[in-house]
Amino acid sequence: MPDLPDVTWSDLQLPSLPLPHLPAPDLWGSPAHWAILATLLAALAGLGLTGRSNRLAAWVGVGGALLAFLATCWQLYTLTQIEGARRGAGTIGALPLGDLDAPLRLLVTWPLAIVAVTVAAVALVVQGYARWYLWYDPRYRPFAATVSLFTSAMLLVVLSDDLLLTLVGWEVMGWCSYLLVGHQSTRSAATRAASKALLVTRTADVGFVLGLLVLVAGAGTTRTTDVVRHWAEAGPSPALTAAMVLLVVGVAGKSALFPFQDWLPDAMEGPTPASALIHAATMVAAGTVVLAQLFPLLSVSGPARLLLAVLACVTMVGAAVLAFAQGDLKRLLAWSTVSQVALMLAVLAAATMGTGPDAALQHLVAHAWFKALLFLTTGWLGVLVGGTAMALMASGARRYRVLRHRFGWGLLALAGVPPFVGFFSKEAILGTAEAGTAATGGGFVPVLVLASVGATAPLTAAYCMRAWLVLSRPTAAQGHARLYEPDPVERIDDFFDEPQVVQEAEGVERAEAAISSSARMGTSALMLMTLFGGVVLLLPVWGPQAHVDLQLMAATLLLMVVSALLVRLAAGGVRTRDAAARIPAGVSLAAERGLHADLAYRVVVVTPVLALARAVAWFDAEVLDSWVRGAGVGSRLLGRVGDLTSPRRATPALALVLAGMLALAALGVVTA
């Protein structure tokens, strides 16, 4: 391999452009307030005020997201005008909790502002898309409101400078994901998946909450920057380690790291827009944001890093492998999400203070674009062909030309092929991991991460290749394809129409054949970002960066090409061009079932807890309650006994009198 020159990231970065100093009037609070409030109010209004009108609900939902998007963009601009590019803002005022300081403030820095823009943008696209996707769904309104709330919560997490606020956003997202995944509550699979998502993440959140308690108690404040300063000054300590380990556990739950990974693929039961929102930009990535905010603490607590690295690496590789074996495109994407999010977290483990956590955030942004694109496109195709199973999806990209580029670009970005956005973020990750290796002199964690990332890249390429091969399979009858091509899709004007109940059947038909302008526009925007989003990653606003090892880059790309070719080869003899068909059926089935993690959950957690609950309920009813019942029965019994034994003859009565007298007198003499 030829000797390639060393390139540092800053060499690749765009030069800092002198922006004109325009007045940046902040009317009524900061943009952060606006972004969060707009979506929050949209959620409340969507639930409470829209009455029965889907159109109004759509306007409210999209309007909220739009406002948030604009506000976050405005926020980017205002950051350029501020020295140090940090901007804080208060919220509802400090909680009066005595000695405990809980200022509940917000803070914006460049990376977080960019993440916020991404979140708002994806949310906007999802809102627009959902209006089309759920055109005939009677529950469109709560869905839109929930999406708004979800966005608001994610923005809160991103912009929060207070661990309590982070927790608020964190938990609200968990709940919203429950509602979104379980949107079709008449389907028991959806309800089950939703319950599982909430339960698994919430169980892991116990760790998150406890870790947060430790941090807050030590620092005496809930303000993140102060907490970080306090603990960083105090240096590594068992308490800090414990706190970070607990936090990592919480993050692992939300981000579907091993062993909590199983909820995420199941969550595909939710409507596709919800999947796009949850799995692209928001909930699963929230852990990355939080750990990035607390990065100085993570970097000094070795065990937490080790734990994070091990969990993330296992997940990353394992999920990539499982993704390959899925028989459903949406589930493939889900496992891919698991893998990619693990990638983000792994790099956090590997990063040092020298490199900072920004590579993870960069990948978050990149992942948001291409994964949202992939999900939404899959959903679109799913509507057209009536499902997301690989068998149904086959040839989709051929039959519907409009989807071809969307799929293609998305998969290329996911695989990390230049010049798509995924390439840049993956390089940043590789660079950061390598820098970590160098800084620690080949410490276990960075080496592990580097190796795993290296292994994941070809695996990712492999399942992307597989998906593409299936999607772009030539159709059996090209004549049919021609039939679709002249006018690929009809369009509907969803923001000014209202589906009528009587026309539901017609509506379904139309929606199956049509796409709205807003949905199309949204995916188009995502497509563009997939291609050009690399520019954002090259902005000079990201933190200190590692250098880019061109050798490594070349090696990775080579591996990817090889694996893609292997997949192509494997797919060769298969009728459906599905390389996964080569996998033995048993293995394939196990992979689709997430390696029976469900069973493990049930055996390890659910059954014992339920057994304990039954025991407790029995004990409560039969033992604890017995004192109340016993008091009632006992006193009545004693009363009956007293009644029966109370003397009804004169002499026994007198005996009672005299014996009582004697007893009393003896008592008196004794105590006198």
Partner: protein
């Protein structure tokens, strides 16, 4: 000179005998006898106290008289009631059921 212990002892014995009499007898009049003995014991204590200088005023002796008189009044009424009992029930057995109605009520419930 006298040992006050002696009358006190006698009083204690009388009281004990009276108590025994009250409890060991069924015949109402005999129970009454027990009561009289207890009262006698009380009187003896009072008189002893009065006569051996333990009392500061002569009230003790007067109290004896009161006790005796009250006892008499009680006996009068007691005998009248016993007479009524005899006429109503045909006996003066204090070991007999006095509350037949209540007993029956209780038994009925149990």
């Amino acid at each position: 000179m006298i040992r006050p212990a002696l009358p006190y002892l006698l009083a204690a014995v009388l009281a004990g005998l009276g108590v025994y009499g009250i409890l060991a007898r069924r015949h109402a009049v005999l129970v009454l006898i027990g009561v009289e003995l207890v009262l006698g014991a009380a009187g003896l204590v009072l008189v002893t106290v009065a006569q051996t200088g333990a009392a500061g005023d002569p009230g003790a002796a007067v109290l004896t008289l009161f006790v005796i008189t009250i006892a008499a009044a009680e006996v009068v009424l007691a005998l009248a009631v016993l007479l009524a009992l005899f006429r109503a029930r045909g006996h003066v057995d204090l070991h007999a059921e006095l509350d037949a109605h209540g007993e029956e009520e209780v038994r009925g419930r149990a």
